[in-house]
């Protein structure tokens, strides 16, 4: 038991009057009609946000919420109830509601909790989030000034800084007992450019599980502002994106969203347990070129997708999904690991106490290869070089996925020529990575912007990739 874990826990005990005895009573009540497993997930979140728009601070907000979700699992069945009132009476009522899923003799939770040992992957802010408002204000004003100074054609700038501190406490009938305090901060810039003929947009942003000093020393408001302004100005001169199958080079970093959509979701264990994923039954099979190794890693310090413990109280880990092109494993939570009799990878996540946890990604990236990025570009006769993306999505069952390029260029005879307008790229998950013919040595992780949606639940994630070349991908432009 570490002292930090102790302090995460103490918060709930002091603020809401919880006791270990009450946690045990709730778990007992949750299993009063039988079931294999029950857990309690307490969550307390405070968040602040401040925004500058037209060089005025037009918004400042702060929110707090707290609640508890109680789950009972019986075979493949899950009962769930939550309450935003943490009194003993309401908690026990929620436990009885969740217990409706089971119908049998009462079961007893294991006696005594075992505290999950967890690392300290991120800083815990010393003060209340609202305490350094003037520093946050300064960050957004700096971003505004930098974007406007970039080019006279930048006509509108919006910048916002948001952060939250989420405290969680998890107790389960299998003895799991874990707690954590998770910071999350993000600076976002949105600009419009106009040259009198046309308007374009540019966005940028980043952050992670960091405190505010990160934006003063590592990634400054000027860095993000220049990036947003640069993209918008670039788009003023963009030509129509090409249409059809062609060679595609993806730049390092955020284009790793390709992995998230093309393979990541399809490897979440729930879809494979239900055999609804295009990847079901493909473990041990070739699903990518031999140059491709993809991992999911929740243990990277300060990363947006990282977690000391997942939302079921299990430690996170590095999981190899694809190794040299061969599918190695799935991302699992407790339920799917038990039902599939597969390794538990600590990927059980949820958006809030109001939702049932499920297997989710953390930070998903492709390991570096040996090619020089210049050589990769030089090898392309006619194709697309895409360096930034808006986002993507996937149909898990058919495997078809898309992602939308927001900054891309034509490659002609090995040289980058004109920037192109926004275009969607489409492919088939289990096939697309087989066309990876070159992998750069320049692995980068994204700057901390990703939010992943699944079944209506959003969670922060990270992605990463070196420069790669796909010999074939469909580019959805309007040009020739």
């Amino acid at each position: 038991m570490t002292t930090t874990t102790e302090s995460h826990k103490r918060y709930f005990f002091e603020k809401f009057g919880l006791t270990e005895r009450l946690l045990e009573r709730c778990l007992g009540e949750a299993l009063s009609a039988g079931g294999d497993y029950a857990d309690l997930y307490f969550e307390s979140v405070s968040a602040t946000s401040i925004g500058v728009d037209e060089s005025l601070v037009k918004s400042a907000s702060q929110g707090v919420s707290a609640g508890c979700g109680i789950r009972v699992v019986s075979g493949e069945r899950t009962g769930y109830a939550y309450t935003d009132n943490l009194s003993a009476e309401r908690l026990l009522h929620a436990a009885r509601t969740a217990a409706l899923i089971a119908s049998g003799p009462a079961k007893q939770p294991v006696t005594g909790f075992t505290e999950t040992q967890s690392p300290n992957l991120y800083p815990i802010p010393a003060a209340e989030l609202s305490s350094d408002l003037s520093t946050k204000l300064d960050l957004v004003m700096r971003a505004d000034r930098a974007a406007r100074a970039y080019d006279a054609r930048i006509k509108q700038v919006r910048a916002s800084y948001s952060d939250e501190l989420k405290r969680i406490l998890i107790a389960a009938s299998d003895g799991t007992y874990a707690s954590d305090t998770q910071p999350l901060a993000r600076l976002s810039i949105f600009v419009f450019a106009n040259d009198g003929n046309q308007a374009t947009r540019g966005t940028s942003g980043g952050g992670g599980r960091v405190d505010i000093s990160y934006f003063l020393t590592e990634k400054t408001p000027e860095h993000f502002a220049n990036e947003a302004a640069r993209t918008a100005i670039l788009q003023l001169g963009a030509v129509a994106a090409p249409a059809g199958d062609m060679e595609v080079v993806l730049g390092p970093g955020w284009p790793g969203v390709l992995l998230h959509e093309a393979v990541g979701h399809g490897l979440e264990a729930d879809f494979n347990r239900k055999k609804t994923s295009a990847f079901a039954g493909l473990i041990g099979r070739q699903v990518a070129s031999s140059k491709v190794t993809v991992v999911d890693n929740g243990t990277m310090p300060s990363r947006r997708g990282s977690l000391n413990v997942d939302d079921e109280g299990s430690p996170t880990q590095e999981t190899v999904l694809i190794e040299n092109g061969i599918l190695k494993g799935y991302l699992s939570d407790k339920l799917s690991a038990r039902l599939m009799n597969m390794p538990h990878t600590g990927n059980g996540r949820r958006e809030s106490y109001q939702q049932i946890p499920m297997p989710r990604m953390t930070n998903t990236y492709m390991l570096a290869g040996e090619d020089a990025p210049e050589d990769i570009l030089r090898s392309v006769k006619r194709g697309l070089y895409a360096v930034n993306f808006g986002g993507g999505s996937v149909d898990i069952t058919s495997g078809k996925f898309v992602f939308s390029a927001s900054e891309a260029y034509l490659i002609e005879d090995g040289k980058i020529t004109a920037p192109v307008r926004d275009a969607t790229l489409i492919g088939n998950g289990p096939e697309a990575l087989k066309y990876v013919s070159m992998v750069g040595h320049d692995l980068q992780l994204d700057e901390g912007v990703g939010t992943c949606g699944k079944d209506g639940q959003s969670v922060p994630v990270g992605v990463g990739m070196p420069t790669i070349k796909l010999d074939r991908m469909t580019v959805g432009g309007t040009g020739n």
Binding site: G63, R201, T424
Partner: protein, 456 residues
């Protein structure tokens, strides 16, 4: 329309108390929103209950003005200590924001609410016993599973229900409250094709009362039909042909028309509809309407997020842009009047949202529209968010059915469709007669010419 300033419930009392306290603590104006809701959802998969979820929650949001400065706070803590924190927090934040001459609550003369019963709330949604609700989900999935031997798996059948109460009060005398209910039944079957390839599709019915829900069986049968027609799809060559958007897909284009006319983008000159009032922005046959006053409508409400009565607006009339969509702030920026389209979450400044938004039906049946097309693409699903509302660039993943000599011939998948919304709205060359509201945004079948399909 009436000016309802009577406080009649506990939540209204709480809301007005918080407004009063905020004023006493130094706010020149204040606005409080309270939301309270219960939700139920269940999923049945392969005949067995998979999840059962039942709960309720509530939240309160406060927006304060100190002169021309604004800030907001929100909380799930309704204790007096929690409320004090909500108020002191908002006032502290308002000290760091800027003076904005356009900030402020609406003028008192603009407040009001519809005096008709919009029939947004029906008790039966929540009084239905749990076993009955599970039966809805089970029957829906079972109908899909038994439709065809190629359907052996499923993502389950679901039944969801929610009821909610929303209260809005401000320091300029507005107090309003309404309840709403919602229920839905849906299923997502999975079919397997000849070569082992899997396809999934989905169908659903939503309503404000159980009485108006489609039967679970009819939803299941339709979900199966939609799934089966996707099997053994192929790609097609890159080409330019007429594209027909099925109604459930066409509605996203109606949403794009609304977004292009959104006042927030207009005052920033960041929409391609900026400065286009009174000009032709779509084909002459196009009429687009936003109406928050339809009885029983999914997008109806007696007042908007700022306490203004909802209303009916013709956004596009015979292809001509007639109005922008505005809340109080954007109306002041543009020197116009709010259109009653403010939407308010618990936190932050009000945004802009639609009521019941639709493109008026035309006269052609879907068959008649297809019959005119020698070679084309009937789109039944779009993938991704590739729409740039600043430039109008549109590029999305698509699947559907190929049109050959006026008839649906074979399924198509893994292609994109691309164009620019500015052109696409003008090149709507046929409008179906099949307008049905399945949510708050609806469209009939639309044919659009001149778009590019990217494939092989």
């Amino acid at each position: 329309m009436i000016q309802a300033n009577r406080v009649t419930t506990d939540l209204q009392q709480l809301a007005t108390d918080v407004v009063t306290k905020a004023r006493k603590a130094g706010a020149t104006d204040a606005e409080v929103v309270i939301r309270e809701g219960d939700e139920f959802s269940t999923t049945v998969r392969l005949g067995e209950v998979e999840t059962l979820k039942k709960s309720g929650s509530r939240g309160i949001g406060l927006r304060v003005f100190v002169g021309q400065r604004v800030a907001s706070t929100s909380s799930s803590d309704f204790t007096s200590e929690g409320i004090d924190h909500l108020i002191s927090g908002a006032l502290a934040l308002a000290r760091v924001t800027s003076e904005d001459p356009f900030a402020g609550l609406a003028d008192p003369s603009e407040f009001g609410q519809l005096d008709v019963d919009l029939q947004l709330y029906h008790e039966d949604v929540y009084s239905l016993p749990t076993e009955k609700r599970i039966e809805y989900a089970r029957r829906c999935e079972a109908a899909a599973l038994s439709a065809d031997t190629r359907i052996q798996n499923s993502d389950g059948g679901s039944f969801d229900a929610a009821t909610g109460r929303k209260v809005l009060a401000n320091s300029r005398g507005f107090v309003g409250e309404y309840r709403s209910s919602y229920c839905s039944v849906s299923t997502s079957p999975i079919a397997m094709g000849k070569n082992g390839e899997m396809q999934r599709d989905y169908w659903y019915s939503t309503a404000r009362t159980i009485q108006k829900l489609d039967t679970p069986e009819s939803v299941g049968v339709e979900a199966a039909r939609r799934t089966l027609r996707r099997l053994d799809g192929r790609r097609v060559k890159t080409q330019r042909v007429p594209i027909v958007f099925a109604p459930e897909i066409a509605r996203s284009l109606v949403g794009a028309i609304f977004e292009a006319a959104n006042g927030d983008s207009i005052y920033r000159a960041a929409s391609f509809f900026t400065g286009k009032l009174g000009e032709q922005v779509a084909a002459e046959s196009i009429n687009v309407i936003d109406d928050g006053t339809i009885v029983g409508g999914y997008g109806s409400s007696p007042f908007d997020g700022e306490g203004l009565p909802t209303r009916r607006k013709v956004i596009v009339e015979n292809g001509v842009l007639r109005t922008y969509l505005l809340n109080t702030y954007t109306a002041r920026k543009l020197n116009m009047q709010s259109t009653g389209n403010a939407v308010r979450g618990l936190a932050g400044n009000p945004g802009i949202g639609s009521g019941n938004l639709y493109l008026e039906a035309g006269t052609f049946s879907q068959e008649e529209i297809l019959r005119e097309i020698k070679s084309g693409f009937y789109v039944t699903e779009l993938l991704g968010q590739g729409v740039n509302m600043v430039t109008g660039d549109y590029s999305r993943g698509a699947s559907g059915l190929w049109i050959e000599n006026g008839e649906l011939a074979f399924p198509v998948q893994e292609v994109t469709i691309a164009g620019n919304l500015k052109d696409m709205f003008r090149k709507i060359t046929a409008i179906g007669n099949d307008l049905v509201f399945r949510g708050s945004v609806a469209s009939p079948t639309l044919r659009i010419d001149g778009m590019t399909i990217a494939g092989e």
